[in-house]
């Protein structure tokens, strides 16, 4: 299985601080995505990074990808209470069309 492993499993920070989550995977990928899930509901797509990209930004989000280490990180800057959610990475294996989700990081931002 190429399921991603994410760490930390849970993260609690103060509002205004930065939050960093990491994802590691096992096989070659086409791309990697990050999703947010609030309270066990549907997932919201945050950002996609292709295997030939190293860094991508979207608003307060910064994603890096290191294919040599098979890892990615998601940085949320200046966190807000509304960022409290679970965050998942998902990888599309090379030669497949399916996404495999990581184990997730539960982020809690304290006001």
């Amino acid at each position: 299985s190429q399921q991603g492993e994410e760490d930390p499993q849970a993260l609690s920070i103060q509002e205004g601080e930065n939050a960093t989550m990491n994802c590691s995977y096992k096989t070659s990928i086409n791309n990697l995505q990050w999703y947010r899930q609030n309270s066990g509901r549907g997932l919201v797509h945050l950002i996609l990074i292709r295997s030939n990209e190293r860094e991508k930004h979207s608003g307060r989000l910064r994603v890096t990808l290191d294919t040599s280490k098979k890892s990615s990180s998601l940085l949320i800057t200046a966190s807000r209470a509304a960022d409290t959610a679970s965050y998942f990475c998902a990888t599309e294996g090379r030669g497949t069309y399916k996404y495999i989700f990581g184990t997730g990081t539960r982020l809690k931002v304290l006001a």
């Binding site: 999703y35 066990g40 549907g42 997932l43 919201v44 797509h45 998902a90 069309y97 399916k98 996404y99």
Partner: protein
């Protein structure tokens, strides 16, 4: 980008019964995906549904337990059959977001929270 309407949002079902979950997409899509998320866990792909052909199931999931219909390019159903408490999970459908998953990723339905008693 595609918008998915998933129903029901939640249900409580008796053991041995079945629940059918519906996903309606506001645009035509080739592939629809069904996921299960057990309590406190990540998402696990159940099957991929293409219009006009049988669904492709992942290891550990079988058609008798999770029959899927895909009658057209905008609609799919997942049935969870012969329910047991172990089937209590959130079930989600997803489709490509925008023009091509390699650019835009996937969009998800709001999920169906199933509790089996």
């Amino acid at each position: 980008s595609a918008v998915i309407s998933q129903k029901p949002s939640r249900d409580i079902c008796q053991r041995g019964t079945s629940l059918t979950i519906q996903c309606q997409v506001d645009s035509q899509v080739t592939m629809m995906f069904w996921y299960r998320q057990q309590p406190g866990q990540s998402l696990t792909l159940i099957a991929t549904a293409n219009q006009g052909s049988e669904a492709t199931y992942e290891s550990g999931f079988v058609i008798d337990k999770f029959p899927i219909s895909r009658p057209n390019l905008t609609f799919s159903t997942l049935t969870v059959s012969n329910l047991s408490p172990e089937d209590s999970s959130i079930y989600l459908c997803s489709v490509e977001l925008g023009q091509g998953r390699e650019n835009y990723g996937y969009t998800f339905g709001s999920g169906t929270r199933l509790t089996v008693v």
